[in-house]
């Protein structure tokens, strides 16, 4: 059974009917996507707007909770896209997860401190081991140098 538009409109929950009565959707009225003055014609009821005289920021007419309630209800009745832009470009349901930006920690995790300093420490040790003979020669004198040279010369090989 197909519904007439009037019948279908009455199928909407009362909260949505009231909202669309007060704030007609896009082709009939346009709403700002950025905060404007509260007196502006296109003032968005979901955004924080500034009073023209006092210059003070006023809370949105629909609080964050009521915005989200309205959106979820409208989504179930297929009219979510008729609502004005939500505060902070808020997303719901699967879209919320799909549009989520990949966090830096996911792509390049920080790691533990030992992990972060591992290669640096290893190279430092290797460098120090390379220099160890020179240091010992400096400390113990030429006699030790000669001993090292003799050992090198007398080193047994398989050939």
């Amino acid at each position: 059974m197909s519904l007439t538009p009037q019948q279908a409109f009455k199928k909407l929950p009362q909260t949505l009917q009231n909202f669309f009565t007060r704030y007609p959707p896009a082709p009939f009225k346009k709403y700002a996507t950025e905060p404007t003055l509260t007196s502006a014609e296109d003032a968005n009821p979901f955004l924080y707007n500034r009073h023209p005289v006092t210059q003070k920021v006023q809370d949105p007419i629909y609080s964050m909770r009521r915005q989200s309630d309205l959106f979820k209800l409208a989504y179930k009745f297929g009219v979510a896209d008729l609502l004005p832009a939500l505060n902070n470009d808020k997303k719901f349901f699967q879209e919320k997860y799909d549009t989520k930006p990949t966090l830096r920690g996911v792509t390049s995790p920080k790691g533990h401190k030992w992990e972060r300093t591992f290669t640096k420490r290893k190279t430092r040790i290797a460098d120090a081991l390379d220099k160890v003979d020179d240091i010992l020669i400096e400390a113990r004198g030429t006699k030790y140098k000669k001993r090292l040279e003799r050992r090198e010369k007398e080193k047994r090989t398989w050939y």
């Binding site: 197909s2 519904l3 019948q7 409109f9 009565t21 007060r22 297929g78």
Partner: protein
């Protein structure tokens, strides 16, 4: 005396609460009294004081025969009762000379010295009554002691009283003396018309009594109101309770105007074009739904459905 002090309220000392220190305070109290009023007897505790006519046995107006003291043998009557000591003031009883300060003189008093009656206890006199002999002559008899037998309603006292009989001669009933007749005040309702009904309400709902008179009508079950619980706001009260009206500032006026403008701008009724636009979209969406559970859910959430449900609940 102590009962009087106790009944005097929170501004007077209650001697019974003082315990062993009470006698010191009593002495102080006695010293403060006029000398002839100091009888040297301590007042009885309240539990031992006579309360009812049955307790007293002899009441004001009774004829009595003195059995002790200088006036022994005379027949006189009881003038008044001294409650603090369960004693009686007699008309021709023993008196003592008392000097009264000028400030306390009675109207016809001519001397500082007066005869002040000494209160006597019940064991210093006997109740006298008149009995009729068989030959018609009358004679007075004094009762050694009296006993109570049976009860009757006494219309003068307006209560049940026992018959006073002479002990061991219980056929002789000594009637209670008649009290002084009560004279009606000018504002009293006469006894004949007190039960006469003068007010007939026309309706149970509306009241004939004017609204202004409501506060003057007393609730018969209500206790006497505390004097500060006034239910009437007087003119001066009203003046004090009403704050002065501050004139609204320009800012406030601008705020009111802005709020009124916002209200005036608000769309209260949906236009048919908007309704059709949204309705089409909703109808389209409804037709595409295949899931029966979702269809059921949306039908339950629908605005018209909910209204029906609410009505049926009521």
């Amino acid at each position: 005396m102590s009962s009087k002090v106790a009944k005097a309220g929170r501004y007077a000392a209650n001697f019974e609460r003082l315990g062993y220190r009470a006698s010191a305070f009593q002495n102080m109290f006695q010293k403060g009294q006029l000398p002839f009023l100091r009888d040297g007897r301590e007042p009885l505790p309240e539990a031992k004081q006579n309360q009812t006519m049955e307790d007293w046995k002899f009441v004001v107006g009774d004829r009595v025969l003195l059995t002790s003291g200088p006036n022994k043998g005379t027949v006189t009557s009881i003038l008044s009762l001294q409650k603090s000591n369960n004693s009686y003031f007699l008309e021709h009883g023993q008196t003592k000379k008392a000097s009264i300060p000028f400030l306390l003189w009675e109207r016809q008093q001519e001397s500082y010295l007066v005869d002040y009656p000494v209160p006597v206890t019940a064991d210093s006199f006997k109740l006298v009554t008149t009995i009729k002999e068989e030959d018609g002559t009358e004679r007075d008899v004094a009762a050694d002691d009296i006993v109570y037998r049976g009860k009757y309603y006494d219309s003068d006292y307006n209560k049940m009283l026992p018959y006073r009989c002479i002990k061991n001669h219980e056929h002789i009933i000594i009637p209670w003396p008649r009290p002084d007749p009560i004279t009606d005040d000018g504002l009293c309702t006469p006894q004949e018309t007190v039960l006469e009904r003068t007010f007939f309400p026309d309706s149970l709902v509306s009241c004939d009594v004017s609204k202004e008179a409501y506060l003057s009508l007393r609730d018969p079950l209500a206790k006497r109101p505390y004097k500060w619980d006034r239910k009437v706001i007087t003119k001066s009260d009203l003046k004090r309770l009403t704050p002065p009206k501050m004139p609204f500032s320009e800012t406030k006026k601008a705020f009111f105007k802005e709020r009124a403008d916002i209200r005036a701008k608000q769309i209260k009724e949906i236009s048919p074009e908007v309704e059709e636009f949204i309705g089409k979209k909703v109808a389209d969406y409804f037709s595409k739904i295949q899931d029966p559970d979702m269809r059921y859910y949306l039908s339950k959430m629908a605005g018209d459905q909910k209204k029906k449900g609410k009505k049926s609940d009521n």
